[in-house]
Symmetry: C2
Subunit: 244 residues, 2 copies
């Protein structure tokens, strides 16, 4: 058996998310079906983690084990012939037997895209959250700094999640504006359910002047979901990289 790692890019608009679901088509299922067509094997692939319906990825990572004789590097091209245009296997390569896309992950890089124009754009539609109210980006950037470090992010997790250890480390976070596009980039050792989307929503409230950047440490320490900002929509979120 060969263990193969894939880097996967997808536009999540037409999928119920990464993970196989009883109803609706998932990215994982599309790839597993293509692998079956290619190898004749019913292969389960392991993603670095789920992404919700509508969430995009430029660097989702997954691995699978196969006894196929297809050269590891050839899987990307062969799968891309079978997959629809909104999913692309960027690369495939052999990795040591013990590599697991989820359990071996050391960190993840996410990006949240906010589009601030009165009129919609065909080029940003479904790939950003659009707001017609221009936020103060300098305030968002100064608020972002307070998320850096190791904190209990209990208040930045959607209710219903059953994770026990809610301490995570954010080692890098930035807010940048270019014309009508604001990008929030965050790198951490792991993220709670909806954590990036809630952080983005909280930063946006700071940009709107509804929250003060200096309040962020208190909001984090309170551990209360209601003190943080809203969960921004899934379609503005991109999983850009999984670091091993």
């Amino acid at each position: 058996m060969v263990n193969i790692k894939m880097i996967i890019e997808y536009d999540g608009s037409n999928y119920c998310g990464w993970q196989v679901q009883p109803n609706g088509m998932s990215v994982q299922q599309m790839i597993e079906e293509s692998l079956f067509e290619l190898t004749g094997e019913r292969i389960r692939i392991h993603g670095s983690g789920r992404t919700d319906a509508g969430v995009h990825a430029t660097g989702q990572t997954a691995n699978f084990k196969t006894s196929s004789k297809i050269p590891p590097e050839a899987f990307s091209k062969a799968l891309n012939h079978k997959l629809p245009d909104d999913i692309s296997i960027v690369s495939s390569s052999e990795v040591p037997e013990e590599f697991h896309a989820r359990f071996s992950a050391k960190g993840k890089r996410y990006r949240y895209v906010i589009f601030t124009r009165d009129s919609r754009s065909p080029f940003h539609e479904n790939r950003s959250y659009r707001t017609m109210k221009k936020p103060d980006v300098a305030k968002m950037a100064s608020a972002a700094v307070h998320f850096k470090g190791t904190h209990d992010f209990k208040g930045f997790m959607s209710s219903g999640s059953k994770v026990e250890d809610t301490v995570r480390t954010i080692s890098d976070i930035s807010v940048e504006e270019k014309e009508d596009v604001i990008e929030i980039r965050v790198f951490g050792n792991g993220f709670l359910y909806n954590m990036v989307r809630i952080i983005a929503g909280t930063l946006l409230e700071c940009g709107y002047g509804k929250l003060d950047p200096e309040e962020i440490p208190y909001i984090i320490n309170s551990g209360k979901r209601e003190n943080a900002g809203p969960t921004l929509p899934s379609y503005g979120l991109f999983l850009d990289e999984v670091v091993y």
Copy 2:
């Protein structure tokens, strides 16, 4: 009658181009039909120029005259409610009676996007020309310089075009690379049919080493289509701005 100028953004993938055609749906027709729904008037809109099937725009400009009492600025929002997601009216405003989107235009800015990755990307699909062979971007940039100025661009026009005066001025041209994306930006007082796509194809040949950047002046002066590079596909081309 009020004369109204619109700035229009569209993803050209699903259209037969800007201009109304007997077969196929055009961007112009979509907007004219939405204007009819809105005002009850059969209005002809005048674009700054045609764009071919597949070509995109972030700054196409058009004008039309109406006796509707809708405030000029309100047309953009009202039309966007009726138009599909791949067309957006970025702004609408009143202009003097004599303004004509085509005849008043002083210059146009185009962008040609080349994507250089082995695997396709859902985010660049249909919005760039993909090549798996990495060109030498420095060579492309040094070739680009030779296009600057006033030249007879007869050799950079698709055959079949009946334009008589083939002299045009390119006042600005640049080639920039960012990760896997090469962008050629060109600003000029006017362009012959397929001129930007042929310039892009010629620059790419320089990047591949098939043509020498120093040969460009001779290719231009020859006035022969066969000496220039290929016409790159329509879907990599964007009309970014029309200057008045």
